[in-house]
């Protein structure tokens, strides 16, 4: 059946890797925040900010890598705001996160409208071009699937390895993991819990913004409203699905993206019989199912969402 054959085409998997890239980056970002004990529901808004900031910088003449850096900084700035409210002030992580998403999104749309008041179709930039890795890209099947992606995708994969290494093999990674399990343990060893958590949230938010920037600087070439379209919430599910481990989160993102790529192609086959909205719904439904499946929550950071008040013992 043609529906099954599609699963074995390299183009499907190439699309899957491409679709997965923003998810990988943003999921890594949320993973870092949650490992430090802070739930960051600002992810949807921060991805939006990243998408806009990077793109608008390039539109005004910056080169792509500078644009990425600006996106990351913008994300980190919102991350610091979220971190400030949730860590030293200890406010509800749920409500603050939703507030950050609302603020980041509305600021982005305001800035966009201000910068481009009369456009009907959004202006374009020159995005990252696919970069074929010499040699590797000639391998049958894997070559097309893996090694003809844009540099930002390669960056995403490298990021997974980097984050895993830092978390598990460096002193600061140990500190981040511990502060999400028992902040008192970190304080008793002479490390400041507030700076550590806020730092983790800022770094995580930078990754989220890079995930958003992928959309405007690699996948597509312009910014439009509702671009992120719930990807942030899907990434929250992916963190749970990956048991807060970078490697598993990567697999989850690819699996998810493969499913998304698959349903796009299925639509072309079956579009006459099944309304397209059903296909579009599937990623969100899948996310809910993933959350239920992982509901026994093995391995969640023990101090997640519990505010740490210094000196309260």
């Amino acid at each position: 059946m043609e529906a099954i054959e599609i699963l074995f085409t390299a183009s499907l998997w190439a699309a899957a890797i491409r679709i997965a890239s923003p998810l990988i980056l943003a999921t890594l970002g949320e993973l870092i925040c949650e490992r430090a004990g802070v739930l960051n529901l600002g992810i949807e808004g921060i991805m939006t900010v990243g998408a806009f900031a990077g793109w608008v910088a390039v539109y005004h003449g910056a080169d792509l890598w500078t644009g990425l850096a600006i996106a990351a900084l913008a994300g980190a700035a919102f991350g610091l705001l979220h971190g400030f409210m949730t860590v030293p002030l200890g406010l509800s992580q749920h409500v603050t996160g939703i507030g950050i998403t609302l603020l980041a999104t509305s600021l982005t749309y305001y800035a966009y409208r201000l910068a481009f008041p009369e456009v009907t179709s959004p202006p374009k930039i020159e995005p990252f071009a696919p970069f074929e890795i010499p040699g590797l890209s000639q391998i049958p099947f894997f070559g097309e699937a893996l090694f003809r992606q844009t540099p930002l995708t390669y960056l995403a994969f490298l990021a997974v390895a980097l984050v895993a290494y830092v978390l598990y093999r460096t002193p600061i990674g140990l500190a981040v993991r511990t502060v999400g399990e028992n902040p008192a343990a970190v304080e008793a060893q002479g490390i400041d819990v507030t700076w550590l958590r806020m730092g983790a949230v800022a770094v995580g938010s930078a990754f989220m913004a890079l995930g958003g920037a992928f959309l405007t600087m690699s996948a597509f070439n312009s910014f439009y409203f509702d671009m992120v379209n719930g990807r942030g919430w899907i990434c929250i599910a992916l963190v749970v699905f990956g048991s807060w481990r970078p490697g598993k989160a990567l697999l989850g993102a690819i699996l998810f993206a493969a499913f998304d790529a698959y349903q796009l192609r299925l639509q072309q086959l079956a579009g006459a019989y099944v309304p397209y909205q059903v296909f579009l719904m599937l990623p969100y439904i899948l996310s809910i199912l993933a959350l239920i499946a992982m509901s026994r929550r093995a391995g969640y950071p023990r101090a997640l969402m519990i505010a740490y008040r210094k000196g309260e013992r």
């Binding site: 093999r169 993991r177 304080e187 490390i191 000196g311 013992r313």
Partner: protein, 526 residues
């Protein structure tokens, strides 16, 4: 029981000096101009009842708090305040009362945390492992470096805490109520370890409110009372009675336990087993006990051996998977808290804050929490707040709860007053069975005395009381009979005349219990 206390090598060397340390929390004066010295190679006990200011003082020393006045010098150098990092750098280590360990990480990870510069690109695990093994060997503190802390017993976790401090080359070690969670035998082992540390030149500050420990292990004792340093004694030159009086400042009446006629069995557990919902592990295994009216049945045991589950069972929070539970002769089939309350069971939970009260509700709201669905507090879904308020006023008066009024937020009350509030709520119905789970934890002596008085009074009126307590002194003072819990099993009861601490300690460590089939909530002991 006491170990030989070695004479000081170099009595003149002062390693730590606190001068005029004062700390206020709002109107409360927690520490009042405290000044003392610590010498190399000595064990200094800091004695005081709950709330005297001992932990606050040590938290200031370790840098968790900043003193309002006063200074500290360590080995002659001034200690910058408010920084655990500085304290650690000056050679001070602390074993906290509530362990500062990350359960899901390994022992090695916990020990190495913070010992390397944060920007180092790779942790030096091999070196760390070697150093930990050396220390472990030198002081006889066996741990498993690559196992998760969660898989260690409480006694082992304390060893990890001590190793953490030694790994950082601590020369001064603070231990905050270290024996609260240990069996008597484990406490002995700890005291031996302390002697080894002292022999190597460390100085130790030992916080406790237990007189026999202080007598056994220290060379000098500082007595704190209501924030002030009221006395300093050389341990060999004083005794328990003097220390007790200094600690409290007034003669404490010993609880008078008079013989009371026993009634028929009020509560009867026969072969009860309870399994953990998620993992299926046995929390209570084939447990049997009988509680009669007019007695206090003490339940001893290291925490995590099934006491919480027993309390949950009697509170109506869990149901047994096997066995029979009978109340007043009738078998119970359905378990929920409301039902148990309606049967006349009073429940004093072990954690006032997490279980006993909703801190953000008002006093009157908390007082009706178990009976809000029945008259006189509500009718047809509407709450009669006047009835609730009247009830609250009665309880506040009868139980001497110090508070702004029945509409004050419960969070504002002190620990002792919260416990009195809970007592008032639970005893208001004249219950026939009282489950008291760690009823005097964290309370000052006045409040403890009050709680004991109320329990004994209830006993005198024919109520049966299940007293779960980690404080063996309390258990032995109040109980008519004692049972020990180990790994979810309950021992045969011992009469009050027949039991001593040493035997209890052995039973708490497992002697006399059938091997295998480990139950209980805690992790498995070494």
């Amino acid at each position: 029981m006491s170990s030989e206390i070695a004479p000081l090598q170099d009595p003149a060397e002062v390693v730590l000096r606190l001068s005029g340390i004062t700390k206020r929390f709002g109107p409360l004066l927690a520490n009042d101009a405290i000044t003392f010295d610590l010498h190399r190679g000595e064990v200094l006990a800091l004695l005081g009842e709950n709330g005297a200011g001992k932990t606050t003082l040590m938290n200031i020393l370790f840098g968790h708090y900043v003193a309002d006045e006063g200074s500290i010098s360590v080995f002659g150098a001034a200690l910058p305040p408010g920084s655990p990092k500085a304290a650690l750098a000056h050679g001070i280590g602390m074993v906290h009362q509530h362990f500062t360990l990350a359960d899901n990480l390994t022992v090695l990870e916990n020990v190495m945390l913070g010992t390397e510069p944060l920007w180092r690109p790779a942790a030096r695990q091999a070196e760390g492992r070697r150093k930990l093994a050396e220390l472990s060997e030198a002081f006889g503190l066996a741990v498993r470096p690559d196992a998760r802390v969660a898989d260690h017993s409480v006694g082992e976790r304390q060893r990890v805490e001590i190793l953490k401090a030694l790994y950082r080359d601590a020369r001064i070690l603070i231990l905050d109520e270290p024996t609260a969670v240990l069996t008597p035998q484990e406490a002995e082992a700890l005291f031996d370890t302390l002697q080894k540390l002292v022999a190597r030149g460390l100085a130790i500050i030992f916080i406790s409110h237990k007189l026999h420990e202080v007598m056994a292990v220290s060379r000098r004792v500082l007595v704190l009372r209501q924030g002030k340093l009221v006395a300093e004694r050389v341990t060999a030159e004083t005794d328990r009675h003097e220390l007790a009086e200094l600690m409290v400042g007034r003669p404490i009446p010993e609880p008078k336990v008079e013989p009371v006629p026993l009634s028929d069995a009020l509560l009867d557990l026969a072969g009860v087993s309870v399994a953990d919902e998620k993992s299926g592990r046995p929390l209570l295994a084939d447990a049997s006990l009988t509680l009669q009216g007019g007695e206090i049945l003490g339940i001893a045991g290291v925490s995590g051996n099934g006491q919480s589950t027993l309390a949950d069972l009697v509170s109506g929070m869990v149901a047994p998977a096997a066995g029979k539970v009978a109340l007043f002769g009738q078998e119970i089939r359905f378990f929920d808290p409301t039902r148990m309350v309606s049967y006349g069971i009073a429940r004093i939970p072990e954690d006032r804050h997490a279980q006993g009260l909703v801190a953000d509700l008002t006093l009157e709201e908390n007082l009706i929490s178990a009976r809000y669905r029945e008259a006189p507090f509500s009718r047809r879904g509407l709450i009669d707040w006047k009835a609730a308020r009247d009830f609250a006023k009665r309880v506040i008066a009868d139980y001497d709860v110090r508070c702004p009024g029945p509409q004050a937020v419960t969070r504002l009350l002190s620990g002792g007053n919260m416990q009195k509030l809970i007592l008032g709520r639970e005893m208001a119905q004249g219950p026939r069975i009282i489950l008291a789970n760690q009823p005097s934890r964290g309370l000052d002596i006045g409040a403890v005395s009050y709680v004991h008085g109320r329990l004994l009074a209830a006993r005198g009126q024919g109520a049966g009381i299940l007293l779960i307590s980690e404080d063996l002194d309390e258990l032995l003072a109040l109980s008519d009979r004692v049972v020990v819990m180990y790994r979810g099993r309950i021992s045969a009861p011992l009469l009050r005349g027949q039991v001593n601490i040493r035997d209890l300690g052995l039973m708490m460590a497992g002697h006399g219990f059938p091997q295998g089939n480990s139950g209980g909530e805690g992790s498995h002991a070494a």
